[in-house]
């Protein structure tokens, strides 16, 4: 800013600058477009990375504490939060009894994973977990019987539709394995922006039952669905989602259930550690983005030097008419700066458009709601770029002063 004030002080370059831009509009447009594309790519890349990071973390927001059998926290997190198929050991009935009966536990929900319907994961859990995950349903009601189910917001099934889950997920799913059982969709969750939007949620008792396992209740049980589950009739769960009345209580539970029989983890913590590992990558991306932009601008400024050679006769005429050297310098520099500013502004718009398009594509592929907006990091990136290239633009401006007026006038 102060550089601009210093260079342009007392110089009314406006009318001549406008004339120059008008006369050279085609080449000016090409130069500005080149800068815009490089700025747009850089801005889009940074905003997209942040959007994906925040989107994946937001998907884990409702998963306070996950208790699973000892193993990989990442595998268990991918299975529970992102519903990625995984072979994990089960939490047994005795452990479930400890979790369920713990005075600090306000919500404990088993998650039974592994079945699917037409590509959509079918997850067995409790109605209380449904309410915790998504709040009030968008349509219908929660399941109240073993043959009822609730669909995620993106499941293309209407209320009343009937589904027979296949055993397994993907190509290996066995369609006829659960023949004779059917669940009727009685409710639909609102959009959560997580892979659970593609899931069909059924009572956990149904999943256990169709697999020929005890259903979590004592034999002859005629009570309502859901907890409390009987430890002796509990067939095991890959993971349990657990909540406490406070963050301190949840950390206390984590400490208590991190032992030889169970691992207890916060999916948010696992994600934050993964994101921290990628922190260096983010910095490298930012540096690469700036470097690309500076390289493109250097190319544009080199082109500008050729242009000043082309308009050398006019500049020489100006000098011959008595224009001071500083005026010609200011005119050339402000021409370059105009291209840089126009390119940067257009690049921000392009970056915004690119991020919106890529976010939509990622959301469609992963079901993780990615909302990328331009934030301070992008504006800082562009501000840094403009400052650096405004300095670089001093070079072609200075070179115009070295040209011989008489030679240029003769053409």
């Amino acid at each position: 800013m102060s550089l601009g004030v210093l260079i342009l002080r007392g110089m009314a370059v406006g009318p001549l600058l406008r004339g120059l831009l008008r006369r050279q509009w085609q080449i000016s447009a090409v130069f500005a477009a080149l800068i815009a594309v490089s700025v747009g790519l850089g801005v889009g890349l940074i905003a997209q990375e942040r959007g994906l990071r925040q989107g994946s973390a937001r998907a884990a927001d409702r998963f306070d504490l996950v208790i699973a059998a000892p193993g990989s926290e990442i595998t268990a997190m991918l299975a529970t939060v992102y519903l990625q198929p995984a072979d994990v050991a089960l939490v047994d009935g005795e452990t479930w009894g400890r979790i369920q009966g713990h005075p600090k536990v306000t919500l404990a929900a088993p998650l039974a994973l592994g079945d699917s319907f037409d590509g959509a994961p079918v997850v067995g859990t409790t109605a209380a977990f449904l309410g915790h995950l998504a709040g009030p349903l968008a349509e219908g009601r929660a399941f109240a019987a073993r043959d009822e189910a609730v669909a995620g917001a993106r499941v293309p099934l209407a209320l009343g539709a009937s589904v027979t889950p296949a055993h397994g997920v993907g190509h290996g799913a066995e369609d006829g394995a659960h023949k004779g059982t059917a669940q009727r969709i009685v409710g639909r969750m609102p959009m959560t922006g997580t892979p659970w939007d593609r899931a069909i949620i059924v009572p956990v008792e149904t999943v256990w039952e169709v697999h020929g396992l005890p259903d979590g209740h004592p034999p002859g049980w005629t009570g309502p669905l859901g907890p409390p589950f009987d430890s002796a009739s509990f067939p095991g769960t890959p993971a349990a989602l657990v909540r406490s009345d406070s963050l301190a209580g949840t950390y206390g539970l984590q400490a208590e259930f991190s032992d030889a029989r169970t691992m207890a983890f916060f999916p948010g913590t696992v994600l934050a550690r993964l994101h921290a590992l990628m922190g260096d990558l983010r910095q490298v991306m930012s540096i690469l983005a700036v470097l690309t932009q500076v390289l493109v601008t250097a190319g544009v400024l080199a082109g500008l030097m050729l242009l000043t050679r082309l308009i050398g006769r006019r500049l020489a005429l100006l000098r011959a008419l008595g224009a001071p050297r500083r005026f010609v310098f200011a005119l050339t520099w402000s021409y370059a700066l105009t291209l840089i500013l126009a390119g940067a502004a257009l690049g921000l718009v392009l970056g915004l458009g690119a991020t919106a398009a890529i976010s939509a594509a990622i959301t469609a592929r992963t079901d993780i709601l990615v909302t990328s907006r331009l934030g301070w990091p992008e504006l800082h990136l562009v501000a840094g770029f403009v400052s650096l290239t405004a300095l670089l633009a001093l070079i072609p401006a200075a070179l115009t002063l070295r040209r011989n007026v008489l030679t240029d006038l003769r053409g």
Partner: protein
């Protein structure tokens, strides 16, 4: 004659190891604290981490710590709020009976604000944990800036 000499020699070899362990461990009641550490910083804030083991039959209550290093020392817990990680204040956390509580990055930590001097890598400072109303003073090892674990990580005492 040679046996007592040999025993003495072996004991003298073991002494530095014992001293080191004493330096990095502290105990109050049934609770032992191991390897307190923080990352070096010149900023106004720092997080202190440690590992507690409770050998008792009842849970112990960690309510915070006192230190001359900073204006305030607050027990905090990491939580994801709308896709962003934050440390939120905690009143107390239980160390389970016959169990462990690990204060670590992106988990429970002691947050120091208004640091009175920079934390320099390699230096040692002191904090006094408050457990069940009792003070548990111990040394905190300052690890290099950006460290994510203490220098003895993976080393079992």
């Amino acid at each position: 004659m040679t046996r007592p000499l040999l025993a003495l020699a072996l004991a003298s070899l073991a002494l530095p190891a014992l001293a080191e362990e004493d330096h990095h461990a502290a105990r109050v009641g049934a609770v032992e604290a191991l390897h307190a550490w923080a990352a070096a910083t010149t900023g106004p804030e720092a997080l202190v981490f440690v590992e507690f083991a409770n050998a008792g039959d009842t849970p112990a209550r960690l309510t915070g710590a006192e230190t001359d290093l900073a204006d305030t020392a607050t027990l905090v817990g990491f939580a994801m709020v709308d896709g962003a990680g934050r440390y939120l204040p905690l009143e107390a956390v239980e160390i389970p009976a016959k169990g462990r509580l690990t204060l670590a990055p992106e988990a429970v930590a002691l947050q120091l604000t208004g640091l009175r001097a920079p934390l320099v890598a390699g230096a040692e400072v002191e904090v006094s944990w408050r457990i069940d109303g009792q003070a548990l003073p111990m040394h905190v090892q300052i690890e290099p800036e950006g460290a994510t674990q203490h220098g003895h990580a993976g080393h079992s005492h």
